[in-house]
């Protein structure tokens, strides 16, 4: 029998480590169980774009809140976190998308987020490697770029400074009322359990409606100055909405190393982690449509990762329905780097009965998610 913990967290991804820090800072005695490397799951695969999004009011509230938390964290992040406030440019491909640019700007400005419309000329000046003739875009200067695995490692170390314990090399295999069982046979007595196992979370809480959504990414050799801002096509909204089909969208990110990270693809039902030539090809053709010069850059590596998707594209933060003393912090889809920090606050607020900074109801796992499954 080992020592007892107030809380045991399964998963040391960015979400699990952020939760560990938040709970440990509040004085709880926390253990984090991780079978592999800290930040080695989706957290190592993601793009690390910290971005305010407006798919829904709830998504906006959580991303906006989280972004403010990221700005505070940026001050203490070591250089290895590679945090840089690059800003996002949402690139419009046609006049219809320029309407969306205007709508989005009005939406952001009304909620206190700076957003600036770029016309064709300003866009070409900001990103000379975009194809000529694009009508414009929306520049959101507050968004940033981080290197997620090192941020997760940093959050874990900070949590350890506050007394949290990392239990590496083991996974949680079973959960009872007063303790969890680990894959090496140990029982860890605990008060409450947090499932932060990302796309693996349904293995621990069956029936929570989280599905794997595969993504491909590619990184080039160093080409400083090729891309200046995080670039995302506005058509991304159309493809990100599609819950059934395979889709690709142009997404290019400048890394502090001078490398360019190119994304992205979305697939349901693909279980294997292998790089699929046809998806990679579609994704890159899309990227080259927007930035023809990418074709001549050298790729050093390609990889895939799994997002934990929910039907309404909002995460699950709060009590696991019908399971006492058990909480969920999962289902972050393609925004979990951004929303990890807000998630940790909202989870701790619920556990510690603190007043939250934003309402947590939209993210409660007990909400009805059916009505949104159409999108």
């Amino acid at each position: 029998m080992s020592k007892s913990f107030d809380a045991v967290i399964a998963g040391a991804g960015i979400v699990g480590t952020a939760c560990a820090l938040e709970l440990a800072k509040a004085g709880l005695c926390v253990a984090v169980v991780e079978p592999h490397v800290v930040g080695g799951g989706a957290t190592a695969a993601g793009m690390g774009h910290v971005v305010v999004m407006d798919d829904s009011e709830a998504q906006f509230a959580l991303t906006h809140y989280s972004q403010q938390l990221w700005q505070q964290l940026a001050e203490e992040l070591p250089a290895f976190g590679e945090s840089e406030q690059r800003g996002t440019i949402w690139v419009a491909a046609d006049e219809e998308e320029m309407l969306e640019v205007r709508r989005k700007q009005a939406y952001y400005n009304a909620r206190g987020v700076t957003a600036e419309i770029l016309d064709a000329h300003a866009l070409a000046e900001a990103e000379p490697n975009l194809r000529p003739g694009l009508p414009g875009g929306l520049f959101v200067p507050g968004d940033s770029v981080v290197y997620p695995p090192c941020v997760a490692a940093h959050l874990m170390r900070r949590a350890q400074d506050h007394g949290a314990v990392l239990m590496p090399g083991r996974s949680v295999t079973a959960i009872a009322d007063n303790g969890v069982r680990l894959s090496d046979g140990t029982n860890v007595p605990m008060g409450l359990f947090v499932n932060a196992a990302g796309s693996w979370s349904p293995e621990l809480d069956p029936g929570i409606g989280v599905k794997k959504r595969k993504g491909h990414l590619l990184i080039t050799d160093r080409y400083p100055g090729f891309v200046h801002h995080q670039l995302v096509e506005l058509g991304y909204l159309k493809s990100a909405h599609s819950m059934t089909s395979e889709s690709v969208a142009f997404n290019a990110q400048p890394r502090s190393t001078g490398q360019v990270l190119i994304g992205s693809s979305r697939q349901f039902g693909a279980e294997g982690a292998e790089v699929e030539a046809h998806m990679l090809r579609r994704m890159l053709l899309r990227a080259c449509e927007y930035m023809p010069g990418l074709a001549r850059l050298r790729t050093v590596r390609t990889w895939t990762g799994f997002r934990a998707a929910t039907p309404d594209k909002l995460p699950l933060i709060g009590p696991s329905p019908g399971r006492e003393n058990r909480y969920l912090a999962t289902g972050h889809e393609g925004l979990g780097i951004t929303t990890s920090l807000g998630t940790a606050k909202l989870l701790a607020d619920q556990i510690l009965k603190r007043t939250p900074s934003i309402p947590f109801a939209p993210y409660l796992p007990s909400r009805s998610m059916e009505h949104d499954a159409h999108a």
């Binding site: 490397v37 800290v38 290895f80 050799d221 053709l285 074709a295 050298r298 050093v300």
Partner: protein, 434 residues
Amino acid sequence: MTEAHVSCDVLVVGGGPAGLTAAQVACESGAKTILLDDNPAFGGQIWRGAKHFRFDNKVLDLISDQTAAQLGTTDEPARLRKMPGWRVVAAPRPGVATAESLSETNSIHFQKLILATGARERFLPFPGWTLPNVMGAGGLQAMVKSGLPIAGKRVVIAGTGPLLLAVAEYLKQCRADVRLIAEQASGSSLFRFGLSLTSHPAKLFQAAMLKARLLTVPYLTDCWVTRAEGKDTLERVCLRQESKSWQLECDYLATGFHLIPNTELAELMGCAIENGCVKVDEDQQTSVPNVYCAGEPTGIGGVEKSVVEGRIAGLAAAGLAQEARKYHAVWRHCARFAGRLNETFRLREELKALSTDETFVCRCEDVTLAQLRECSTWRAAKLHRRCGMGPCQGRICGPAVEFLFGWKPESVRPPVFPARVESLTQADVEEKSS
């Protein structure tokens, strides 16, 4: 963006002794063959630029001197298409390889594939190994072949394996002042190895050793470099032999710690790997049907093994596996030699203790030994320290890290070499005639 496409019966990747032999045999047996190599000239590590370096044994008559000359220069049979300067970077689906040259990309459709991708040198870190003029033994040899003036320069050659002797001999011929060959293997194991060299394939080694001696280069066993020193560039090396240590002034230090099979392309194609080598059956076929492998990737064993394996693979890929059987006895011979070779030049434990906390292990990303010590797996080292994330993708630091920490690099993904984005967008177009 190019959208070219060619096809063949047999595609041979790599134009060293194994690939040259395989390609020749396959096309002589009637197969429409493509031979490609990522260097501008064929010949592989040993026969490239052969006008300076000739090695003169007849390799059991399996390959004549002309073969290399023929294949490397003019007069190719119509069935053989040579593509020097092309590198296979990806394999988007079975039967298709993506190759790139400096400016173009091509899809190559094939029935059978022979991987003859050779080996590369293993590097181990030690203090000062990143100083200018400290280089790989093969690397220095290649630079001299392409014009680096070496006459009169003081060179120390250190590390392990027969390659050191070959390089010493070559540099001597180029009138370098080779001051010492420091071989880390023990004198007694080398002596046993020498005694076992009664068989033919080993003659190369014997000859080289003899020549090195005749050329009066001091050859010390149980001896290794502990550090390289110099202000802006190399000035001297510190050496150790048993309890003795001393310094030697020099202009170049050429190091190499035996060879590492290039298995990445085979891994990308899904071929099974065993003990770091591509697993093959007696026809040189890998675990993936229609994919063959010959030469160093199946186990480091020198030119003779490469040539005989190239011959077997070429015949088998052309549908003449029966005929290839008659070479099995020779192959077994070479394989036994290879086994003894790798046993003899095994790395000693002391080499693990050379690096200090500040020594860079990963040169692409400046990762030090101390930083690696904080990690527990290759993946952690990679994710948290960027080890192996640079342009070499772990080709150089991977084997060193494996020796120092026992961590194995993870799976291979496309591209196997840094490749242009456009090469990964090649259309899988319908057969055009090539």
